[in-house]
């Protein structure tokens, strides 16, 4: 309970429970997964000898490598889409909306769905995309198509469409934060120095919001990589990402292989985050 003492004993007592919880419920299980991924045995055998061959087996199966590639590709596509849409929304909210009441209302409108179940939001997309779904009925009604478009449900496009509605806010939030931190005098100063609005955005505003953009991209990347429910609900059984693969393997009792996929998933996520963070460091306040 100290306000001034350095390294007081009570701090350790206060910090203990939470730290312990995370260690036991998160760190240890993760390490356990890594250990399981090295098992020779397929089923659950604690005494199993260890090998790295499982990883080799993963990369030897083109279908599995395909899944890895698909997952990463989906993440990249989502990063681009949410990046553009998210930035546009953030820019509009912070720069163009003057009245604080309207700003708050719009922001709440964007954020409130996050307080509801992601599963329900996923389910809600199904009637939208199906052959008899709302989008198709609307298209038929306005005469844009003669037959219902089958390509929405059970397709990558459908998964992407749904994921955009879920994850764009993750890209918007950090950008809103960094945009807000730019003093209003900066764009004005640039304009006084003969910079057109395009110049102002590209040379002043955007570079200063780059940290927010990157954080948003990282959040979207992590979420899309780990997403399995959307693929299952909207893709049916035609599409599998790494998460779906883990479930499949677990349910068929191939624990060590499920662990291999898990480790690969975690590693890819770590690599992606490391790469993205490099971008920020290099470009932070830098100039071309």
């Amino acid at each position: 309970m100290s306000t001034r003492r350095e390294r007081p004993p009570t701090s350790y007592a206060l910090a203990g429970p939470a730290g312990l919880w995370m260690l036991v419920a998160l760190v240890v299980p993760t390490l356990f997964i890594v250990w399981v991924s090295l098992w020779v045995a397929r089923g659950f055998t604690l005494a199993s000898p260890l090998t790295l061959a499982n990883y080799g087996k993963f990369f030897a199966r083109p279908a599995y490598v395909h899944v890895l590639g698909d997952t990463v590709q989906q993440a990249l596509v989502m990063m681009v889409i949410t990046g553009v849409v998210g930035y546009s929304i953030a820019y509009f909210l912070v720069v163009h909306v003057r009245r604080p009441g309207l700003q708050l209302a719009l922001f709440l409108g964007l954020v409130v769905p996050f307080w509801t179940s992601a599963l329900i939001r996923t389910i809600a997309w199904i009637p939208f995309l199906g052959v008899n779904g709302v989008i198709n009925q609307a298209l038929l009604a306005i005469g844009a198509v003669d037959r219902p478009v089958e390509a929405f449900l059970f397709s990558r496009a459908g998964i992407t469409l749904a994921q955009v509605s879920f994850y764009t806010l993750l890209a918007t939030g950090p950008v809103v934060y960094t945009l807000r931190n730019i003093p209003r005098s900066l764009p004005e100063a640039a304009q006084c120095l003969r910079a057109t609005p395009l110049h102002v955005f590209w040379l002043i505003t955007f570079p200063l919001t780059l940290p927010g953009v990157v954080i948003g991209q990282i959040l979207v990347f992590l979420n899309v990589m780990a997403d399995f429910a959307t693929a299952q609900a909207i893709g049916g059984h035609k599409y599998a990402f790494l998460g779906n693969l883990v479930i499949l393997l677990y349910e068929s009792g191939q624990f060590s292989f499920a662990a291999v996929v898990s480790v690969l998933l975690m590693t890819t996520m770590l690599l992606g985050v490391a790469l993205l963070l490099k971008v920020v460091d290099i470009r932070r306040f830098g100039e071309p």
Partner: protein, 284 residues
Amino acid sequence: MIAWRTRQRLVKGALGAVTVLFLAYQWLPMLTMAVLSFTGPEGGTTFPMRGVSLHWYRELLRVQMVDDFKPPLARSVALALACSVTTAALALAAAQAMRARFLGSRIYFYLILLGVMAPGLLVGFGVALLARALGLGLAWYTSTFAVHIVWTLPFGFLTMLAVFNRFDRRLEEAALTLRATHWTTFWRITFPLVLPGVIGAALFGFTLSYDEFARSLFATGPEQTLPLVIYAQFDRQLQPTLYAIGAVTTAVSLGAVALFACLVRLFRRRTLTRARAVPAPNIP
């Protein structure tokens, strides 16, 4: 060449259109689902609606052998309440600890934050494996509870850190100069002022736990929580009962948010305006 003012207005219009369209894009599926949940007994899972009724809601209330939503709902609410209290308490303690720089506080910070970054599915997977190795059973009030806290704690922690950041230390110091002990200072000065943050952490604990399914997937025993039951429906045929439960559960989530917001307002007003009558000192 378009005049510059017109160009500015065009850009603003375009961005505004994107924002509004996106808002609609986000809300329409949910609103559609809510509307469709009121479809008549003959109604299918999409438009046109055949009649308007509460039929599917009544179906929810019926006791069924399979697909009974009521016990999972009860479990989810109970679990969410437990997570709410636990998250608030742990986050408060952890954030208070962070205020003094103790050894390893940087690593500690990242340790807590790991809970957000780790994919839910894998956390559940790991716990399931670990439980199996140790011969422990999985149950919604043990293993699921554990992984839920892993997920909710970082959010509560960040909330409390932000609140403590804005907190004026000098208030505590003033209390200490007035002969209060550390303990009294905390409960009489600090706690009431950071209460909105505590309530926020509790809110995170409730809603995040209530909706959680990725972590729970592997880590829950035979008695499932509501999101898991809903998830199991993915492979079955879609029925409007699912829309009904979807609407109900969304209402619960939003209701919780509204309730917590009201609590914050209430406490803030009470703390800041209520003055306790103090007897005047007897100075001769």
